[in-house]
């Protein structure tokens, strides 16, 4: 696909309005992700995760993948965050700012080194292979196309994922159920 491989100069990059929109989305996304892993307040950390995930959803929108973006909003921001908050409340996590939520300084330093090396290697490999190659401009993906592919070519993976989801929900109920319910009455088990 040689037509896709044309690249952009850095000065031209800043001239494109879509890139300013991208920056407006990308900076809060990365900031939210950073606060998610560094905040000392557990509820705030989870709420900053909302910022990061909403940023990725907006990024899917400017890439033209509207259905994926809306699915992220529904599933992650709507459901998964609620699960996290419920998990925090049930485990009675320490809510104060002084709570010990992270490991000590040397663990943080080595983790920062490790993740920075990983980041640098990924960026080096991608920059080496693709440089500043252009993405074709905004061209929304039709949801009907995704649906047709999902129920045709990807039907078996789709069914497997739905089975996994069902098994996970049943497993979640079984794991989280209190064992002492119905222990006194005969036949109450199960």
């Amino acid at each position: 696909m040689p037509a896709l491989m044309e690249s952009v100069a850095i000065a031209d990059w800043f001239r494109e309005a879509a890139n300013w929109v991208f920056l407006l989305i990308a900076l809060p996304t990365v900031f939210g992700a950073w606060r998610t892993v560094s905040s000392n307040n557990i509820v705030r950390a989870v709420l900053y995760l909302v910022v990061a995930l909403a940023g990725t959803a907006a990024m899917f929108l400017i890439l033209g993948a509207a259905f994926i973006g809306l699915t992220v909003v529904l599933v992650y921001i709507g459901a998964v965050i609620i699960l996290f908050l419920i998990g925090i409340m049930i485990t009675r996590a320490p809510l104060g700012v002084e709570a010990k939520l992270s490991h000590g300084r040397e663990a943080r330093l080595s983790a920062a080194l490790l993740s920075f090396i990983l980041f640098a290697v990924i960026m080096w490999a991608v920059a080496d292979a693709f440089g500043m190659s252009k993405i074709q401009p905004f061209e929304p993906t039709a949801t009907a196309d995704i649906a047709n592919l999902l129920f045709d070519r990807f039907l078996i993976p789709f069914e497997v994922v739905s089975l996994v989801l069902l098994a996970a929900l049943i497993g979640g109920i079984v794991l989280a159920r209190r064992d002492d319910i119905g222990r006194d009455e005969p036949g109450g088990e199960g």
């Binding site: 599933v75 485990t91 693709f130 190659s133 996970a168």
Partner: protein, 101 residues
């Protein structure tokens, strides 16, 4: 728009997620960091899907599968954390040292 700006954000999310998985002590926050890593992978997949103009949209459909599996993973993860909390009165991963010799 270029491909590398999206990969930059995606790999930044992934690296921050790894940082969180290693440094966080609270098990719920470890799960949240895993979600961050998955979000980074999703950005990467959708960006390359658009870049390659894939006719069968495999990147976007793969992202849908990842979202479904992530929901399952969080449900199971929270249930396991809940069980650990019931048995040991703590959701701190540093306290789970039963296998330490």
């Amino acid at each position: 728009m270029t491909i590398i700006q999206f990969i930059l954000v995606g790999s930044a999310l992934f690296a921050l997620g790894i940082y969180g998985v290693i440094t966080r002590r609270n098990a719920v926050l470890v799960l949240a960091s895993v979600e961050l890593m998955l979000a980074g992978v999703n950005v990467n997949l959708v960006a390359f899907n658009v870049y390659l103009q894939d006719p069968i949209l495999s990147g976007q459909i793969f992202v849908l599968f990842i979202i479904g599996l992530a929901a399952a993973e969080v449900a199971i993860g929270i249930a396991i954390i809940l069980m650990i909390f019931r048995n040991r009165q703590s959701a701190d991963v540093a306290d789970l040292n039963l296998m330490k010799g």
